[in-house]
């Protein structure tokens, strides 16, 4: 447990040692607001809720989460520091989980910094703050899923660009599987059951449920399982690379 926090702490502080943290946070907040106001018509809709804010989060994370996760392992490999890191007495699970937690919490920080949206909507009207809280939770869980995918793919390469591109692609497939334009397309040649399976594996329907204010255990379990599966895969990849 101690080593887990030590790893997470070093990794988290690492974002702030360079301009990465500042640039990431600014761009994240700018994009989140731009989507909300210009694409989601937050003001024009006239509803006191944050639907038009949260509905773009899957697409926002699609690029922002891989940008954070790509360095987790690939950079260690490229710099050779992985040899220092993996010969310290840190169990593989603590190494993988610690790095993941740092990136996830950093994305959580970015998400928390969107609080002016919440203040704005409370000033303008009387929103259901329970739904908003649930949506923040759902958004945070979804971010964790994307970072876990990115962690695994970062461990598989020493090239951060490859890690980024492959992660975006996988996250896109995970997201788009449940998006309307894809389900419409595959419903042409797939049975309803197959369609449900594909859509059920996607993050979108689960996220959309939570954003509606319905916190179903199944949706929470889905995100936790998504993270667990990809983190286990990360451990396998990190360990198998030792075989050279």
């Amino acid at each position: 447990m101690g080593t887990l926090l030590t790893v997470a702490r070093r990794e988290f502080a690492g974002y702030f040692a360079t301009p990465v943290a500042a640039i990431f946070l600014i761009i994240f907040l700018a994009l989140a607001s731009a989507f909300t106001f210009f694409v989601g018509y937050f003001l024009e809709r006239g509803n006191a809720d944050l639907q038009s804010f949260f509905m773009f989060h899957p697409w926002l994370y699609l690029f922002m989460a891989p940008a954070l996760s790509m360095r987790l392992w690939a950079e260690e490999r490229r710099q050779g520091t992985i040899e220092l890191f993996l010969t310290l007495p840190i169990p593989v699970w603590a190494a993988v989980l610690g790095k993941f937690l740092a990136a996830w919490l950093f994305l959580g920080l970015a998400l928390a910094l969107t609080f002016p949206m919440w203040i704005t909507v409370n000033v303008l009207g009387e929103p259901d703050n329970g739904v908003i809280l649930a949506s923040y939770l759902g958004s945070f869980l979804m971010a964790g899923g994307y970072v876990a995918i990115g962690s695994c793919l970062s461990a598989a390469t020493k090239n951060q660009v490859i890690a980024f591109v492959v992660t975006v692609t996988v996250c896109f497939l995970m997201t788009a599987g449940g998006a309307g334009f894809v389900t419409d397309l595959i419903s042409e040649f797939m049975s309803d059951d197959a369609l449900k399976t594909v859509a059920g594996l996607s993050v979108l329907p689960h996220f959309n449920q939570i954003v509606k204010g319905v916190i179903d255990a199944r949706d929470v379990v889905y995100f936790l399982a998504l993270m667990a599966a990809w983190l286990l895969a990360t451990m396998v990849v990190v360990d198998s690379k030792k075989a050279g």
Binding site: T3, T6, R10, A13, G80, T81, T87, K242
Partner: protein, 317 residues
């Protein structure tokens, strides 16, 4: 515990190439093992397997009795490792890096602070502790790597080229440091500086093409060289042939090698029969023949010669 580091028939294959081929070693407390070999001979790969960073294709490694594959955490806690090239996190300062390493080893609070200070003092890092590592010179980086390896005062040290990139003064300091801590520890260092082996190692292992081809005390290994106890004569090129003529007939002389030097000088290396001491004989013969020489002294490069002899032969085979 007798053997603190054990390599038991380690083999590492990368595809069809056997980078390490059946290497076995044991290192005891107080021993400093110098790992020698040409670049690409398998030194670093062997060390990576000893630390558990690489999994051997076959064979096993032990640190303080703990199999690095079976109980890696126990092995790593007792190990200080300086990887090849001393990789370090460029954004961190030596201060924060040492604290990080210390925390992963379960120390905290005042004990951690004390260890970090001790480690910084030992490696003379005081002036740069607060600078990002990426801004440091190669010599300082290497010393940060050493500080990290020494931080927890481990029983076993595995140092891959600890003096690479250091200037002569820094090399001297690091050798002094290793000599100072050696009696309490089992140490493996890799190097291709042979004088370093003479200076600090109690044992030398020469490896070529992944195989151990010599293993013994540096003095013992040197005896296997053809120029063990040889005498080096520096003289003007003009008189080299006269000197050779005077020395060749001597009973004690087995072989004479001539080497051209700068400034119109030549160097003769006179190898003795059966490793006999022939300095006086040679000096006397030269004086009797009236050959003017610049210097006559013992030739110290026997280990160097053996290394070249063994490793070049290996390549030809």
């Amino acid at each position: 515990m007798a053997d603190m580091i054990v390599a038991d028939q380690l083999v590492k294959s990368f595809g069809a190439k056997r980078a390490v081929d059946d290497v076995s070693l044991q290192v005891r407390r107080g021993e400093v093992l110098g790992f020698l070999g040409p670049n690409g001979a398998g030194k670093s790969t062997t060390m990576k397997m000893l630390t558990g960073f690489l999994k051997p294709t076959s064979g096993r490694a032990e640190i303080m009795g703990f199999d690095v594959a079976v109980d890696p955490m126990s092995a790593r806690r007792r190990l200080g490792y300086l990887p090849e090239g001393a990789p370090l996190y460029p954004d961190m300062t030596p201060w924060s890096l040492l604290h990080f390493c210390g925390r992963t080893r379960g120390t905290s609070g005042s004990e951690l602070r004390r260890k970090v200070y001790a480690s910084i003092a030992r490696t003379n890092l005081e002036s740069v502790v607060a600078q990002p590592i990426e801004t440091l010179s190669k010599g300082f980086k290497r010393r940060v790597g050493l500080a990290q390896a020494l931080l927890h005062d481990p029983d076993v040290l595995i140092l891959d080229e600890p003096t690479d990139g250091l200037d002569p003064n820094q090399k001297h300091e690091v050798r002094e440091l290793i000599r100072e801590i050696a009696p309490e520890k089992a140490i493996i260092i890799s190097t291709h500086i042979l004088e370093e082996v003479d200076a600090i190692c109690s044992r030398a292992v020469i490896i070529a093409d992944g195989k151990v081809i010599a293993d013994g005390a540096p003095g013992e290994l040197a005896q296997r060289s053809e120029i063990f106890n040889a005498v080096a004569v520096m003289l003007s090129k003009d008189v080299a042939e006269r000197a050779r003529a005077a020395l060749q007939p001597l009973d004690a002389v087995k072989d004479i090698r001539a080497m051209s030097q700068a400034d119109g000088q030549a160097k003769l290396i006179i190898a003795p029969k059966d490793g006999a001491m022939i300095l006086n004989t040679v000096a006397g013969a030269l004086a009797d023949a009236g050959v003017d020489v610049i210097s006559v002294r013992p030739e110290a490069s026997a280990l160097d010669d053996l290394f070249r002899h063994l490793t070049l032969n290996g390549e030809a085979a």
